[in-house]
């Protein structure tokens, strides 16, 4: 390494990490933290990481949900559902992800109109080719009471469900825990919300000059990338789910059905808890792939880490080695975090020998 930097320096290329304190001098379209062109390159690094994490988390959530349903769908006894699920998997798995990103981006852009002709929902949500604009909640003073009541409701539900499970185990009497919990949360927070004087104000987006200002803005690039990553990764997750379920011995489903469990209950209580252990390891890989694939965003200009940091920053300061090493380290760490979380879940799910 020392040799490396010596050689670079001999050739007149700057080395070291001083550039991180230099003013970046360029603008970025989406920043989750305060940023402008007078911010430093280290801020660009942070903005890039956060944008990568944002699209990855969104993508992982939706890909998992879609994947779960499609995976189960493939095993459905309903011919149409299982065939449609199969077509979905075969179609989206075999088209290169980059093409899908470009495709959705162009679909999104082509189907939306200019800001002055936005689609409007509830007079507060606007959709146009600059993205989706939604009102931004601004928390006022009394909001703390709402937050406290929400936490208290959660605590109450926790103890309630413990009690309900115990009673179920002992007496077999069921308790409608979901409905009741939902009721508690909605009821208590609504009451406190009004009692404390409606402490949330909404900041609406409004058209000023060329664009909307105010509120939250989801960029078309984010929407397209999120959509493409979810749809693509879901195909692999669906296959993992299907394989997991199929691996559970057929006898088990027959046994639970003959015990009188409904099909849904059988999936939830018998099959999935066992299948999940088979499903998780391949899914860790898919999550890691999704994170890596998010760097294809350079093709449509979504400002994630590779686009802004190892793209623009690298080009402005020219320190390829430092920047690429930092970028690779981020992907490595993100992937390690994902596998740690998933392994933790997997360990929790292990069949406990009693």
């Amino acid at each position: 390494m020392g040799n490396l930097f010596d050689n670079i320096e001999k050739r007149g290329i700057s080395v070291g990490f001083d550039f991180l304190n230099q003013e970046s001098g360029f603008g970025i379209a989406q920043t989750l933290v305060e940023y402008d062109e007078t911010s430093t390159h280290s801020k660009v690094f942070l903005v890039g990481i956060l944008n990568t994490i944002l699209v990855s988390v969104l993508g992982i959530i939706t890909a998992s949900i879609i994947g779960l349903f499609i995976g189960i769908g493939r095993l459905s006894s309903n011919w149409i559902i299982s065939k449609l699920s199969m077509i979905y998997v075969e179609l989206f798995r075999n088209i290169p992800i980059l093409l899908q990103i470009l495709f959705w981006y162009n679909v999104v852009l082509a189907s939306l109109s200019s800001p002055r002709q936005s689609l409007v929902f509830f007079e507060s949500v606007f959709l146009n080719n600059r993205g989706l604009y939604i009102p931004k909640p601004l928390l006022q003073d009394g909001f703390i009471f709402v937050a406290i009541s929400f936490v208290l409701a959660l605590v109450a539900i926790f103890y309630l469900s413990k009690w309900a499970k115990k009673r179920h185990d002992e007496t077999g009497v069921k308790f409608p825990i979901w409905t009741v919990s939902f009721g508690i949360i909605v009821f208590s927070t609504t009451i406190v919300y009004f009692l404390s004087g409606s402490p949330i104000e909404l900041e609406y987006s409004s058209l000023q000059g060329f664009n909307f200002v105010g509120g939250y803005n989801l960029l078309p690039e984010l929407l397209a990338l999120w959509f493409a990553l979810s749809i693509y990764t879901a195909t692999y997750i669906a296959e993992a789910v299907r394989a997991g379920i199929e691996a559970i011995n057929k006898g088990q489903s027959e046994a639970s059905l003959s015990l009188g469990l409904s099909k849904g209950l059988m999936l939830k209580k018998v099959i999935l808890p066992q299948a999940i252990r088979i499903i998780i390891p391949p899914i860790i890989n898919q999550y890691a792939n999704l994170i890596k694939n998010s760097s294809l965003a350079t093709a449509i200009g979504y400002p994630e880490l590779v686009t802004v940091f190892s793209g623009t920053s690298l080009n402005q300061v020219g320190q390829a080695i430092e920047i690429i090493l930092m970028t690779m380290a981020v992907y490595l760490i993100l992937n390690i975090i994902v596998s740690m979380i998933m392994n933790y879940i997997n360990a929790k799910m292990k069949i406990k020998e009693r």
């Binding site: 007149g12 007078t38 793209g311």
Partner: protein
């Protein structure tokens, strides 16, 4: 595609960990029998393959001139198309011998990237293209606009400066190539497209409805574009620098691709020195005596190249302006060959 830059970075990484130094570019080029020249993939007038796949443009001619000087044959060039983001890494890592990709000469690039600018083959400036619908007459009315721009360019920095000094806000959309920026502009994703002014007219002419857009009068920056080489190889630096100068002097002295043969036999001492009939210029450059003769024979003088690629009879219709010779009121000035 996915990690192209990562790979380029890695090439750089590995070449640098071994104690290889890039002197001897001239020997390497000769041994290879071809000049590797980094250009833009599709920039009308500067470097773009025509319908038959032949590369054409001002930057392309710069590469051809160097090949003519080295080999006596302007065809011995391999063109490697690079995005703005890839270009410097490609040069640093030795993938290309010279970069002629409408690259702006700036202090940072000249001093901290291990590169040297060998001259200015086009004086440009940054401008704006806006959709007519918006009814904007001046760049000062652009507050709040979304701007399509290319990653890794000086345009990104100038834009930020310009909006900041004029107290205006903007949103950027950063794409990798001009083609993407054009699409973004066309689909209405952004209100303005900004880039080197020389390109705006070409981009405008490529729109589905060219008349739906206008170029604003403001030019917000200086963009001296020129060929770039690696630092630390002065022999090679000289060759590229003087290939450009030879074309300027040829224009000044009235030597063209058509009359060069006759001119070489003439009596004018400046022309004799340029074309190698007298003097040692070739030898001092480590080149053949007829290095400049070959450039002019095969590629032409600067004026010929300008008119053929970007001049008034091309779709770009650019007047000489700043790029006229000094004696015609422009900035192009070739130091004497003596």
């Amino acid at each position: 595609m996915k990690f192209v830059r990562m790979i380029l970075g890695f090439v750089l990484f590995t070449t640098l960990t071994t104690t290889l130094v890039f002197s001897g570019t001239l020997e390497n080029v000769k041994k290879r029998g071809k000049l590797n020249c980094g250009v833009s993939g599709g920039l009308a007038g500067f470097s773009a393959p025509d319908s038959s796949g032949k590369w054409k443009g001002l930057d392309v001619d710069m590469c051809r001139a160097v090949a003519a000087a080295v080999f006596g044959n302007a065809k011995k060039v391999k063109f490697i198309s690079l995005t703005a983001k890839e270009r410097f890494t490609a040069l640093q890592s030795g993938e290309i011998d010279v970069l002629a990709r409408n690259t702006t000469w700036t202090a940072t690039r000249d001093t901290s990237l291990g590169l040297n600018f060998a001259g200015v083959n086009y004086y440009d400036g940054q401008g704006f293209l806006v959709s007519k619908k918006l009814g904007v007459k001046s760049a000062l009315e652009l507050n709040g606009a979304s701007v399509c721009i290319q990653a890794g360019t000086t345009s990104e920095l100038n834009l930020a400066d310009y909006f900041r000094t004029n107290g205006m806000k903007y949103k950027t959309l950063t794409y990798d190539t001009s083609a993407q920026s054009r699409q973004g502009f066309e689909s209405g994703r952004c209100d303005i497209l900004t880039s080197d002014a020389s390109q705006l007219y070409a981009l405008k002419s490529q729109l589905k409805k060219p008349n739906s857009a206008v170029v604003l009068p403001e030019i917000i920056s200086k963009e001296p574009l020129g060929p770039v080489v690696r630092q630390g190889d002065d022999v090679w630096f000289n060759i590229v620098k003087w290939s450009h100068i030879a074309m300027l002097n040829a224009e000044e002295l009235g030597v063209t691709s058509k009359n060069v043969k006759k001119m070489a036999k003439g009596k004018n001492p400046a022309i004799q020195r340029l074309l190698g009939t007298s003097g040692d210029a070739g030898k001092n450059l480590h080149l053949d005596k007829k290095w400049a003769y070959n450039i002019i024979k095969e590629v032409g003088n600067y004026g010929e190249s300008f008119e053929r690629n970007v001049g008034l009879n091309t779709p770009l219709k650019i007047a000489r302006g700043l790029n006229a010779l000094w004696k015609d009121g422009g900035l192009q000035y070739g130091p004497p060959v003596r």
